[in-house]
């Protein structure tokens, strides 16, 4: 379980929230605190007071994969193959294992053709795919995705979701502005002004949002 208690950080106010394993989607208006909550869950930011525990451990003691929505902030190296190898290399994995991990994830993500490219040569969507592959290469316990789907087509998003489901990452927390993506998750959190105002299964939460633009268009159109 991910347990948040007495959490205070900038405008974030979450008194108590328990998140079970699965794919958790976070939605809400611009500026409501989605990215800040994701930064706290990933350990990039540390609560001013209160705590976040992932299976009983603080975020910073957990293996985390993180994908920033602005991928240039995520990427450290100039070559795609070096970027994918960065996490295994930083954790001193043997060269042969690193090479095979890089090849595997590139193959699974369908980006093997990008391995010899430089980051500068990539499109915005390709940078997101590289950032996502780098986050997944070492099988994190929690994968945190900040609007990765803004720059990807729907087919790619569905392929990636399938890959994430089968990869066995216990917790995936993602914020999204695509309500169809949010509708496919296991749990949905709605944020407003730094607080989680609704949480539950997507079908329950969206039932309270049916008069707003946040209701999934495909549900409105009944397809």
């Amino acid at each position: 379980m991910i347990e948040l208690s007495g959490l205070r950080y900038r405008n974030i106010r979450i008194d108590s929230l328990t998140i079970p394993p699965g794919i958790i989607s976070v939605i809400g208006p611009n500026g409501s605190g989605k990215t800040t909550l994701l930064r706290l869950c990933s350990g990039i930011a540390v609560p001013e007071t209160g705590m976040i525990l992932i299976n009983g451990k603080p975020s910073r003691e957990t293996d985390v994969g993180w994908v920033n929505e602005f991928p240039d902030k995520n990427i450290l190296f100039s070559r795609v193959s070096d970027e994918l190898a960065s996490a295994p290399r930083f954790s001193h994995q043997p060269c042969a294992e690193t090479d095979s991990a890089v090849k595997n994830i590139a193959h699974q993500m369908n980006i093997a053709h990008l391995l010899d490219r430089t980051i500068k040569e990539l499109s915005g969507g390709e940078k997101i795919l590289v950032a996502l592959a780098s986050a997944l290469v070492q099988h994190p316990k929690i994968l945190v995705l900040d609007e990765y789907d803004s720059h990807l087509d729907e087919t790619r998003c569905l392929q990636i979701e399938e890959l994430i489901r089968t990869s066995g990452v216990p917790y995936v927390i993602r914020c999204t502005q695509q309500m169809e993506t949010a509708a496919r998750g296991d749990l949905l959190l709605v944020m407003e002004d730094g607080r989680v105002t609704l949480s539950g299964k997507p079908v329950q939460v969206f039932a309270s949002l049916d008069q707003t633009p946040f209701y999934p268009m495909s549900w409105r159109c009944k397809v």
Binding site: N30, G31, T212
Partner: protein, 230 residues
């Protein structure tokens, strides 16, 4: 007014993009897979990327603007208010419209990404350009803001507007559809007829068409109307 691409090619190493076609006044939508060359085409149409072959003719276009995929690339002001001034705009007018007036003294990069995109689009859409190229304009925006931007785009009464996007559900009224497939720009034609040939159509639109719904256009109200009508 029109922008004409005559066998214009962009090359990057072994990768290339071939573009042929005429963009007249109205709203155009260009779709294609990740890495297919949408941003490259946008840069080429804006005149920011030189084409290796062919010609690009701009007829009657006196002003043009490109909104890049990532709003960070546009920033020049060190505060939100300065950013508005750098576009020659009055910060109070712009920021009260997008509810960011209370953040006018903040550094733009401390805004949330959605707020930054809102700021950037407000600056872009405050002026009239004959050619307006919008690369992923809806990324990071919440559903309410996407609908507002769509209304503003649909209200443009003159000029050429080209959207390059992966958006799945919220679109403005679109006049003309294009796709990039296997490194070639393909003209699908006017809506609604073009919709049946749209190979990158979002799943929702594919399903509506497959279930026999007749779409007049792809704005949220058109989608709902099609559902209710038949």
């Amino acid at each position: 007014m029109r922008l004409q691409l005559n066998a214009a090619h962009a090359n990057r190493g072994e990768w290339s993009l071939a573009a042929e076609g005429t963009f007249g006044e109205g709203v155009h939508l260009v779709s294609g897979d990740v890495g297919s060359g949408k941003s490259t085409l946008a840069l080429m149409m804006a005149g920011l990327l030189s084409h290796s072959d062919g010609t690009i003719v701009r007829e009657g276009i006196r002003s043009s603007m490109i909104s890049l995929q990532f709003p960070e690339y546009h920033l020049t002001g060190s505060t939100v208010a300065e950013e508005c001034r750098s576009w020659g705009l009055n910060p109070e007018t712009i920021l009260s419209e997008i509810m960011l007036l209370d953040k006018q003294h903040r550094a733009p990069l401390t805004l949330s990404r959605g707020e930054l995109k809102r700021l950037h689009l407000a600056c872009v859409l405050a002026k009239k350009y004959d050619l307006l190229l919008l690369d992923e304009p809806f990324s990071s925006l919440d559903a309410r803001e996407k609908e507002r931007i769509c209304r503003l785009i649909s209200q443009r009464t003159s000029g050429i507007t080209v959207l390059f996007t992966h958006e799945q559900t919220i679109f403005p009224l679109v006049d003309h559809l294009w796709e990039i497939e296997q490194n070639v720009l393909i003209e699908r034609g006017e809506l609604p007829d073009a919709l049946s040939h749209w190979s990158h159509a979002p799943v929702l639109i594919q399903k509506l068409i497959a279930s026999g719904k007749r779409l007049k256009n792809i704005s949220p109200s058109d989608l709902q109307e099609a559902v209710c009508r038949t």
